[in-house]
């Protein structure tokens, strides 16, 4: 037991016998006496008491997600091993969030939160929903090879606390931080309380984003470093269920009600698409509903346990019960609020929360989602389509032209946009924002001449270009560079004639020459995160080294992309 007090941020925790070892920033550790809660559905609690590590038990009344009362026993164990033993023998429930997370929550040692540890007691020094970023040292180490970023690379780039610090030979790297995201062999070169191997990561967020997830979801970084977005999101929902004493089953049994094929086709639709009017347009606004799907879930109380339970809100698809706030809406409301607050102070952390919100809708319909139900998923797209139709009708009424619409985004041409937004927000109850204000924009078509939704490029009024789905990850570097260069030129254009002139007179000679005599890195293209090149025998992996290239493939690629550009301005 520490005699002096420790103040710091909870980075990690290690379960020990009758205690838990809390790891604070700066590699400081403190042990706290505790037992671990294990929830079991059983008729023979006394039998479980025979396990030596179990010290006591409590009988509690819980509810299932479909509102049935159920008797659950909470056993307190001196060790986490008793939990691993029991989960294979009896029906253990409420395992999510993990037993360690539940133990930490009881002790008020919330991950990534500031705490004071003194005399075997923990005091939480900040609000549970605090948006302060922990004062810890975190690093990201990237490795590079001749073709770009690679776990096999021998040169490293070190980003310390979000800033590029140094680069060099990986053999010379020496680093001690609280949390590190590593790649390849750098994993063994770094000393950190928690390390994340980039290659094993299953979420698209940065290390700072993972720290934010750990803080928001009150779960150790160690537990979510390789988790999917869904797990991070579900943890937030599970805390609400635990607080309400709603049982979190190990396996979800959710049988969809019987429906005819017509009913299914009618109900199971995606978001609304208004195909773009292809071509060049001046003075166009892109208006987006902010976090549309999560906001709809919150507004209409859409959750597995609120659909078709009572008919407070009737729709042609299903009815929604409004008597009690759903678990999913409550969790999402907090996340939306957090994202909005973070947006003003830290874009990177706001992005991490945004990923959870993006996944929230899909997860409602995922069959293994603990708090999901396909009927709830259908309700979200239903309300999204209704909302978009309403927004389009209001535009028409105000004399605005809707050029393109997709799910939660509208491209509109006309005057008095601010008053239009105000009216839409009033009518729909959802927030709408100006995502982009274009001087000009070009909506593209595919090679058969049909409009291609969500592929456009345009010049923004406040400078710069917005390019969507034109430059793709799987294009060779040479082509990406060509497109970036042409778009840099297009930034100078202010009308259709200038755009046409720049594209038609763009000098391709340099790029054509490079298709034959460029650097090996020019020919690298990335497919599903793996680098490839193409030579006369076909595609080969860049890790094998440069083994020649097929200049005619790259030349044809260049000409194809250029002819697409020409067709879009014709």
């Amino acid at each position: 037991m520490p005699s002096s007090s420790l103040i710091g941020y909870v980075i990690d925790a290690i379960p020990r016998y009758n205690k838990i070892e809390i790891v604070l920033n700066g590699f400081r550790k403190a042990s706290i006496e505790t037992t671990y809660p294990i929830y079991v559905i059983t008729n023979e609690p006394e039998k479980i008491m025979q396990i030596p590590d179990i010290v006591k038990y409590y009988e509690e009344e819980w509810r299932t997600i479909d509102n049935r009362k159920i008797k659950v026993y909470r056993f307190e164990s001196r060790s986490i091993e008793a939990y691993y033993y029991l989960k294979n023998k009896v029906e253990v429930v409420n395992e999510f969030p993990s037993i360690i997370s539940q133990t930490l929550e009881r002790l008020k040692a919330l991950p990534m939160h500031k705490v004071k540890i003194e005399n075997n007691k923990i005091e939480l020094l900040e609000n549970e929903n605090s948006i302060e970023f922990p004062e810890i040292n975190y690093a990201k180490i990237e490795l590079e090879d001749w073709y770009g970023k690679s776990p096999r690379g021998k040169n490293y780039i070190l980003y310390l606390n979000g800033k590029r610090k140094e680069e060099g030979d990986i053999r010379d790297l020496e680093l001690e931080v609280d949390v590190a995201e590593c790649s390849g062999i750098s994993y063994d070169k770094v000393k950190a309380s928690v390390k994340v191997l980039e290659e094993k990561k299953r979420s698209p967020v940065s290390i700072k984003g993972l720290i934010e997830w750990s803080k928001t979801a009150k779960v150790l970084l160690r537990e979510i470093r390789y988790a999917t977005i869904g797990k991070a999101l579900t943890t937030n929902e599970a805390w609400i269920a635990l607080k309400r004493k709603i049982l979190i089953p190990r396996i979800k049994i959710n049988v969809e009600k019987k429906r005819s094929l017509d009913e299914l086709i009618f109900a199971d639709k995606g978001g609304l698409i208004l195909f773009p009017n292809t071509g060049f347009y001046e003075n166009v606004y892109q208006l987006d509903f902010s976090s549309m799907y999560p906001s709809i879930i919150v507004k209409y109380n859409i959750s597995a346990e609120t659909i078709d339970i009572c008919d407070d809100l009737k729709t042609p698809l299903h009815n929604i019960c409004l008597k009690e706030k759903g678990i999913v809406p409550e969790a999402l409301e907090k996340l939306i609020e957090r994202k909005n607050k973070l947006k003003a102070i830290d874009e990177e952390r706001a992005e991490a929360i945004k990923w959870m919100l993006v996944a929230s809708f899909g997860y409602l319909g995922y069959r293994n989602s603990r708090f999901g139900k396909i009927e709830a998923y259908e309700m979200v797209t239903y309300f999204a389509r209704e909302t978009m139709r309403k927004a389009m009708d209001i535009a028409k009424k105000n004399g605005l032209i809707v050029l393109h619409g997709l799910i939660d985004s509208l491209f509109i041409k006309g005057e008095n946009i601010e008053s239009y937004i105000e009216e839409v927000e009033k009518e729909t109850g959802l927030r709408m924002k100006i995502e982009a204000n274009f001087d000009w924009v070009i909506f593209t078509k595919n090679r058969t001449g049909e409009p291609y939704p969500q592929r456009y490029f345009g010049k923004l009024k406040n400078g710069g270009m917005k390019i969507k789905a034109v430059i793709k990850d799987n294009m060779p570097n040479l082509i990406k560079e060509f497109l970036n260069d042409i778009f840099k030129e297009l930034e100078k254009a202010s009308c259709y004639e200038e755009v046409k002139e720049i594209i038609e007179n763009f000098d391709l000679r340099e790029y054509k020459l490079r298709a034959f005599y460029g650097k090996p890195v020019d020919y690298v293209l990335w497919i599903k995160g793996k680098p490839y090149l193409r030579n006369s025998k076909g595609f080969y992996r860049a890790e094998l080294g440069y083994k020649g290239h097929d200049p005619y493939y790259y030349l044809a690629y260049l000409e194809r992309v250029y002819s697409d550009l020409l067709s879009w301005i014709a």
Partner: protein, 76 residues
């Protein structure tokens, strides 16, 4: 996630592709031209039909009717 019904756009394109192939095999230039005209309207019909319970072939049929009407109007 979800149940993911096949994309209506993709199914319509597949059906139109079938018609294209038939027109090619028949070597019927006029039919090919009619299909080409219908393709110009098919996205608009698809867009308007999003809230309805509709078969992809019905969308194509409507596209043919619309392009036929437009052609008649052009010719007169």
């Amino acid at each position: 996630m979800g149940r993911t019904q096949p994309s209506l756009t993709r199914i319509i394109d597949l059906e139109l592709e079938k018609l294209d192939k038939i027109a090619n095999k028949l070597r019927d230039e006029e039919l090919a031209e009619i299909i080409k005209e219908a393709k110009k309207n098919v996205r608009k019909i698809e867009e308007a039909a999003q809230d309805e319970l509709i078969d992809p072939l019905e969308v194509i049929l409507l596209a043919f009717l619309v392009s036929n009407r437009l052609r008649n109007r052009r010719d007169t």
